[in-house]
Structure formats: structure tokens, C-alpha cells
């Protein structure tokens, strides 16, 4: 799994949630360039990404991920004010998204579903 996020408190919270899913081997990066490179090199099963990482749209990362492996489950993390963008991401193939910070816990529900579909 690739986790792309640059905001400190979200990273901490998500890392904590991910501890409950030892079956996912997690690579984390806060750098967009590194994320692009990783997505080009590796077909990740799951990608969790912020919808904005240092000014770059998560939609772009979604496309990279899907290009490499169209079965990838991409989960977007978004702010309340970016929810329209999240809806767009869904239409372009994102698996689902969570809204930070109050609803971050929903990530664990979504990951449970992902774990089901990706045994």
C-alpha cells in the first residue's frame, strides 16, 4: 500500500489506523515526485492519498495509480471544502474517500472492505 500525505496530524492518525491492518505493507511519502516515481515503478493494491499534496491534485495521482494497475483501490483523504473534488475522484475510479479530520475513523471501515475485496 502506498500512503501519500503531507499533513502531520493526518499522517499520525492514519498510521495509527493502519496498525490495525498488518496485512498491508505500507510505504509512506509526503513528496509528490517520489509518489509519482513509486506509482510508476510499483503496482500497488491500495493507495491512500490526500486530495491535495503540496499543490498537486490527488486526481493526478489517482490516474497514475490506475494506469499502472487498474485494479488498484484508491482511497482519497479530503477536507470538507473539497468534497466536490472527491465526488469527481469517485467518478474517475476512486474506491471511496474520507473527510478529515472528524471522519478519519471511517478509513478503518473502508479498509476493512478493501481487505475483503483484495484478499
Amino acid at each position: 500500500m502506498l500512503f501519500i500525505e503531507d499533513e502531520g496530524y493526518v499522517i499520525d492518525r492514519v498510521q495509527e489506523i493502519l496498525k490495525g491492518f498488518p496485512q498491508f505493507v505500507v510505504t509512506h511519502t509526503a513528496m509528490v515526485d517520489e509518489a509519482r516515481k513509486l506509482l510508476e515503478e510499483t503496482a500497488f493494491d491500495v493507495v491512500v492519498t490526500d486530495i491535495y499534496v503540496r499543490g498537486v491534485s490527488g486526481l493526478e495521482l489517482l490516474h497514475y495509480a490506475k494506469e499502472k494497475n487498474k485494479e488498484t483501490c484508491v482511497i482519497m483523504i479530503t477536507g470538507v471544502d473539497n468534497s466536490d473534488l472527491a465526488a469527481k475522484a469517485l467518478k474517475e475510479g476512486a474506491f471511496d474517500f474520507v473527510i478529515k479530520p472528524p471522519a478519519l475513523d471511517r478509513l478503518s471501515n473502508i479498509l476493512k472492505l478493501v481487505a475483503l475485496v483484495k484478499p
Binding site: 470538507v80 468534497s83 469517485l90 474506491f95 475483503l116 475485496v117
Partner: protein, 402 residues
């Protein structure tokens, strides 16, 4: 009477067909288990009718090309714009025909001669078309019939099987043949009528005799007068194999993976899903989400992963009819699946967070990013929180002729 045929003659739909139009279907194409497109193997089964023009080769190997898929999605999107009421009325009408055909077939199965094949295939054609253009149709498979559960069961398994066949990219005529096999898969059960309606779980002895229904059913296919004998052979094989499982745990012959006809695998998984998600006289239904989860978790053993994947694509993780709680606390029922999304269907909000009825409204969770499905609501919870509403819901799932 024969308005089925009338209905289906809508030639202007041709360009939007969900299936490839790679030449006319031949009987031969039914006779052997087909390879599904991913396997890239068209080898010896392909009747050599295609003039070997290489640019077309790719599209003949992959029954649904990207373009076709796109066209299909666009058509589906267009259809989605039709008003809800119109779609619902059409879905209801087509479903009613399915139930009455299933009823006729099962009731006449005891006669020495049956003439039903052509009619059922016409029905299957209409099902394919309706699944393609009417996203509410699949939700009708939640209905159950009270007088004999096999009526709705046979219709539901046919519709779900066809939907699976379509997402797997099976050829059009094969999907319709699949619909026939699914509709007829329990034809052998008509010999066990008193057990079907029994409110008690079967004894071991009864159970082992019911296990013969696959054989009885396969034999009954022989009585269909209006069916080509070569088609009969494959249909008999499929019906005989519906309870076979890839890990050899099935019956009657404990076959392994590739020995089981792909159509039998499809009917098999649709059969299991339908059975556990619907009530039976001797047990209640389980939540559709739990039913699909069991398939994914492989608690129902021996299904091939490509068939599991296909049924998830058809029904998603929250199948139509699932009662769920939204992130707003409201209680809603899943009405239709949004293609490509496993977790964000269209739902009808029925109750508020305190389980008090509200005026029903539809929410497309794809369009409302701030709302989502939080958890499933079990019937027991509904009964505890709002028994009147639970009773109404329970009544509403029984199909009533009108």
C-alpha cells in the same frame, strides 16, 4: 399473449448493444464450455467463420472491447435519465413475467412433454436488455414468493446469473442460454414439493434424497420438445453441475475446478447468494451485505475467484435491498448500484436516526460525497427499534400478483 417478442423488436437499439456483434451465434458455441475473455484462448472452440483479418482479431478475442464498454456505459447513463417511476414500472413488469414463467415451468415440469424453451429464451433476451438499460431491475431480485419459494428463486437466479454473465463479457446468445439454465436449474425440485414447503429443516435422510434433484432436473430437460438436442446436452450438464464446487466439496460428482462448466459456476454462485439472502419457511434471510461478504470471505467454499469477482461487480458490497445506516444517522435501503462503485449506491432514506419514518427520498451517494454508508442495519435491530415499520418492510418483500 406473445408480446414478449413484440417488445424486444426495437431495432434502433442496435448500436448500443451491450454485447459484441461478432457474427451470428452458432449452436456450436453452446456445446463446449466457453473460455472467458481474460483467458485469451479462443483456440479450438471458435467456429472458423471470421475472415482472418488481423486488425479485427483483438476484438474477436475480447468479446467486450473498451469502446463497446464505453458505449454501453453511455447508453446506461442515458437510460438513467429516464424518470424513476418509468424505470420502476418497466422493471416491475419484466419481473412479473419472470415469476410467472418460472411458475409455469416448475408446475409443468412433471408433465411428459414441455414446450417452454423458446419462451424462456425470449424472456432471457428481455432480461438482458432490461438489465442493460434499467438499473432498477436488479433490485427486484429481492422479492420472494410465499406460496412456493422456488418461483421467485428461479426468476431471481436467472436475472442475477445473466447479470454476472454480462459483466464477464459472455457472448449475448450465451448469456440468454445461461438465463434459461438458471431459470430451469431447480426444475428437479418439483419432485420434492412437500419438502420445499416444509417449515422444518430437512432430516439427513431427506437431505440426501434432495441431493438427487440435480439429476432429476437434468433428466427433465430431456422433456423439452422445442429445444435442440445439442443445446439440451449442455443445459443438462450445467444443471447437473450447479452444486459442484471447485474444491470438490460439491455434489453429485465432486468435480474439480475446470471440470465444472463456467455456466454452472455462475448459476451456482447466484443460487447460493439468492438462497441465503431470502427467507425460507424454515429460516430467516441473512442481510444481503453479509451474504456477499460470506462469498468474499470464502465461507461459501469452492467458488472460483473470477466468478466471485463478477458477482461483486454486479451486486457491489451493499447489494440492492440492503438496509443501511448512513453517516447522517438516517436509515436507508439500497435501491440501485452505481456502476464502478462498490460502496456508494443510490439509496432511499426511510427512517430518521431515531427510526421514525420520514417521507422517502432518494440520495445518490456518488453525488453526495459528504454522506456515506456507515454500517448495515440487521432486521433484528429494525424489529427492536420500530416493530411496525419492520412488519411493513417484511410484508413488502413478498411478491404479489396483480
Amino acid at each position: 399473449m406473445n408480446d414478449l417478442t413484440k417488445k424486444k423488436s426495437a431495432p434502433e437499439k442496435k448500436s448500443a448493444t451491450p454485447f459484441p456483434s461478432a457474427g451470428a451465434p452458432t449452436i456450436e458455441s453452446f456445446l463446449e464450455p466457453i473460455k472467458i475473455p481474460e483467458s485469451e484462448n479462443t483456440g479450438p472452440l471458435e467456429p472458423v467463420v471470421m475472415p482472418a483479418s488481423s486488425p479485427n482479431k483483438a476484438s474477436s478475442e475480447r468479446p467486450i472491447s473498451r469502446k463497446d464498454r464505453q458505449r454501453r456505459d453511455e447508453a446506461a447513463a442515458r437510460a438513467a435519465e429516464r424518470p424513476f417511476r418509468e424505470l420502476d414500472a418497466q422493471a416491475r413488469e419484466v419481473y412479473a413475467r419472470n415469476v410467472s414463467i418460472a411458475k409455469e415451468l416448475l408446475n409443468q415440469a412433471g408433465q411428459p412433454y414441455i414446450e417452454k424453451y423458446e419462451r424462456i429464451v425470449r424472456m432471457a433476451e428481455l432480461n438482458s436488455q432490461t438489465l442493460f438499460e434499467n438499473s432498477l431491475f436488479l433490485g427486484y431480485t429481492n422479492y420472494a414468493t410465499a406460496d412456493n419459494y422456488l418461483y421467485a428463486h428461479s426468476a431471481n437466479v436467472a436475472i442475477i446469473s445473466q447479470a454476472i454473465g454480462m459483466v464477464m463479457g459472455l457472448e449475448k446468445s450465451l448469456v440468454n442460454f445461461l438465463g434459461f439454465c438458471a431459470m430451469a436449474h431447480d426444475i428437479g425440485m418439483s419432485d420434492y414439493a412437500e419438502m420445499v414447503s416444509s417449515a422444518e429443516r430437512l432430516s439427513d435422510e431427506d437431505y440426501s434424497s434432495v441431493m438427487f434433484h440435480s439429476e432429476v432436473g437434468a433428466a427433465k430437460i430431456g422433456r423439452l420438445l422445442d429445444m435442440d438436442y445439442r443445446l439440451k446436452e449442455r443445459a443438462q450438464k450445467v444443471i447437473l453441475q450447479v452444486h459442484e464446487r471447485g474444491d470438490a466439496s460439491g455434489y453429485p460428482n465432486s468435480l474439480m475446478n475446470e471440470e465444472i462448466d463456467i455456466l454452472a459456476q455462475i448459476v451456482g454462485i447466484a443460487d447460493v447468494y439468492e438462497a441465503v439472502s431470502h427467507p425460507r419457511p424454515w429460516r430467516p434471510a441473512i442481510h444481503p451485505h453479509t451474504a456477499i461478504k460470506r462469498l468474499i470471505d470464502r465461507e461459501e467454499k469452492g467458488f472460483d475467484s473470477k466468478v466471485i469477482k463478477a458477482i461483486i461487480e454486479v451486486l457491489s458490497i451493499y447489494p440492492p435491498g440492503s438496509l443501511v445506516a448512513l453517516s447522517t444517522g438516517e436509515i436507508a435501503s439500497v435501491i440501485k448500484i452505481n456502476k464502478g462503485s462498490l460502496t456508494r449506491p443510490v439509496v432511499a432514506v426511510l427512517l430518521d436516526g431515531d427510526f421514525e419514518p420520514v417521507s422517502t427520498r432518494l440520495i445518490d451517494l456518488m453525488e453526495h460525497p459528504l454522506k456515506g454508508i456507515e454500517r448495515i442495519v440487521e432486521e433484528s435491530e429494525l424489529v427492536a427499534r420500530n416493530p411496525n415499520f419492520a412488519a411493513r418492510q417484511e410484508l413488502a418483500r413478498w411478491w404479489v400478483e396483480w
